[in-house]
């Protein structure tokens, strides 16, 4: 009885010793030197593996940071200046500071204001439907509403609003990795600078059609009237033929343009409410939408693509 116990203990111990020796030899023989700085930098990086820096993951980015001499062009958008500062301290290389940015949707053509004129039954991804045609509505510049941007967002910072059919960006969660910018076939997501209270003013439209056509397709389309350009005290509004764009750097957030925009296509976010009677404005707007919708339907029979 005691013999068999002894034998087994002896056998297992000797097996363990042999395995340990083999492992020791192998680990010495096939040792790969890795710069300890890489893992040190990797620990600081946010470990999101989003690809926003251009590298396939945080470890690869750490490797790149350590092995590149001039890292002034490399930047981790998720970690921001804080992380890059720490990296700079560890590596003793200079990094450039970048202003924080946030993704912004340049389309507000929800179901209510932008009537659908066709039915699409193909695969529900923006990439495929953008290849097939200009979209279910008459605006070929706006959001397709199939949520490719939401699908690629690693940070849960986007979701589709069921009422409008448009994606919504959660500014607090957005890390400005630009994955959504790359995924959007219409290029309607822009990175704009983020200030402390997240105040933004921008033109929420990219429709380049002439005023009448744009307005018919979408109630809140920019019609290129250049009223905003005229009123802007800082020349921050850049007009092309039929479209306004607000330069975020020149803009001082005075909100004058928001009030003069006849189609409400200039969006302001997170400003404290002004003493304006807003509910009164909204009511007649909805009626108008219904009229436009009926008109469009009678002109063009619903066809499918």
């Amino acid at each position: 009885m005691s013999d068999s116990v002894l034998y087994s203990v002896f056998l297992l111990v000797s097996l363990g010793v042999i395995a340990a020796i083999v492992l020791y030899i192998v680990s010495k023989k096939f040792y790969v030197y890795e710069n300890p700085l890489i893992s040190e930098v990797d620990d600081i990086l946010p470990a999101a593996n989003c690809g926003g820096c251009g590298s396939p993951g945080c470890k690869a980015f750490a490797d790149k940071l350590v092995n590149t001499e001039d890292i002034s062009e490399l930047f981790c958008p998720v970690g921001g200046n804080e992380v890059m500062k720490q990296v700079s301290e560890i590596l003793g290389k200079e990094v450039t500071e970048k202003d924080p940015t946030v993704a912004v949707l340049l389309c507000q053509g929800g179901c209510e204001v932008r009537p659908k004129t066709t039915i699409y039954q193909g695969p529900r991804t923006c990439a495929v439907s953008a290849m097939v045609y200009g979209g279910e509505t008459d605006c070929q510049y706006g959001c397709l509403g199939d949520g490719d941007c939401v699908a690629v967002c690693d940070f849960d910072a986007m979701y589709m609003d069921e009422n409008t059919g448009l994606p919504v960006i959660d500014t607090d969660k957005c890390t400005s990795c630009e994955a959504c910018v790359k995924a959007c076939p219409r290029d309607i997501i822009e990175m704009r600078p983020l200030n402390k209270r997240d105040l933004k003013i921008f033109v929420g439209c990219l429709n380049q059609d002439k005023a009448g056509i744009a307005k018919k397709a979408c109630d809140v389309a920019c019609i290129g009237c250049s009223k905003c350009e005229d009123i802007c005290p800082k020349d921050a509004v850049i007009m092309t033929d039929t479209l306004a764009y607000i330069d975020p750097i020149a803009c001082t957030l005075c909100r004058k343009c928001v009030e003069v925009c006849p189609t409400h296509s200039i969006i302001e976010t997170n400003f404290p409410p002004k003493k304006v009677k807003k509910p009164k404005e909204e009511k007649p707007k909805r009626e108008k939408v219904a009229v436009v919708k009926a008109k469009v339907e009678s002109v063009n029979p619903k066809t499918d693509a």
């Binding site: 066709t118 193909g122 695969p123 045609y133 200009g134 002109v299 029979p301 066809t303």
Partner: protein, 442 residues
Amino acid sequence: MLKTFPKGGIHPEENKITSSKAIKRMPVPKVVYVPIAQHIGIPAEIIVDRKDKVEIGQVIAKSGGFVSSNIHSPVAGTVTKLDMIVDTSGYKKQCIVIRTDQKNESNFEIPDFPLKKEISMDQKNILQQITDCGIVGLGGATFPSHVKLDLKNDNHVDCLIINGVECEPYLTADHRLMLEKADEIIVGIQILMHALHINEAIIGIENNKKDAIKVLKQAAKSDKRIKVAALQVKYPQGSEKQLITAIVQREVPIGGLPMDVGVIVHNVGTIFAIYQAVQYDQPLIERVVTVTGKKIENASNFWVRIGTPIKDLVEEVGGLPEGTRKIVNGGPMMGKAIKNTDVPVTKGTSGILVISEDEASRQDPKNCIRCGQCVFVCPMGLEPHLLMNLSEKGMYEKAAYEDIMTCIECGSCSYVCPSHRPLLDYIRFGKSIVKKINTTKN
């Protein structure tokens, strides 16, 4: 046993409702919308301006490069504007809008060209004439014809194949043209044989058009070099590569052209356009369009001016029937639904198909059950299910390795899939990405 291509293929319901309807002439539209990108390749460059008066057949947009084509005014009238109009691609594209001059008689004369058999032009002039008259492949791909005819020295072409297959269901434009213009088509073939020094021409026609086979055989009796080959009925036999394999049993290499195996293929419609261009100096300003659909009252074939809005065609056949869901530019297999009825007819519009609600709806895709039907029917010997998955997952390099670019987009895979998977949609998408990757690499 009749000839056909060996791999894959399907047998969709034929529905050739209009095959007994003679080609009628559409009234000249009041306004024409002429897109400048009607062909594969570089869009033409506009050379007219607003308020310019244009004559019928005048060049209004000049070829923008080698793989491009001239565009001529289909009517005499005034250019009212240069506008962005939704065309068959589903996007707004540059168009020349011309208002027809109702007083100008040249608009309403019915062209009557007697058969002219003597070929007076020499080889160089024939090719120049085809280039100048803006002839493109009228089968649907709209590839500029002069590019196909520009032979390099190392290409020895010994056989001209004429595509009269028309394998798409519903469409009968080529069928009617063969019946009504058989002699002209034979002269057109002789013109090409003369220009390219080819001594053999074979007209491929599917066996469901027995009358056309008979008429063309009769017309070709005097010329021993021209043969008519009856083919088995199978889709997609009208595809260039499939037709070559069916008729001369030569396989076009991957990424190659028919020239590489000594063959040139032209559609019968193109041949007729070449005949008119060479013999009567007529530019390509009108084509045969089949306007059809199961519920269309007066479905028929029409001579239509390029640029006619599709709503004019629909009105001509008695308006849209109730419950219309889709209007397709082209046939049901390879055609594309149009966004609205203002879309103009272009050089590639072989048919307008009106589909009702019960036929048009797609079913929800289910999981792949690995039945292999798509592999079985693929005429190019590809694995559509694999290509779809690779495109969907973004594995484009693997897709390119699996020869996604050789797909001819015939849609046979989507047609047979019992799970209603959108195979072709994703393969097309994958192709567009692989094409982009390839161009950036070069």
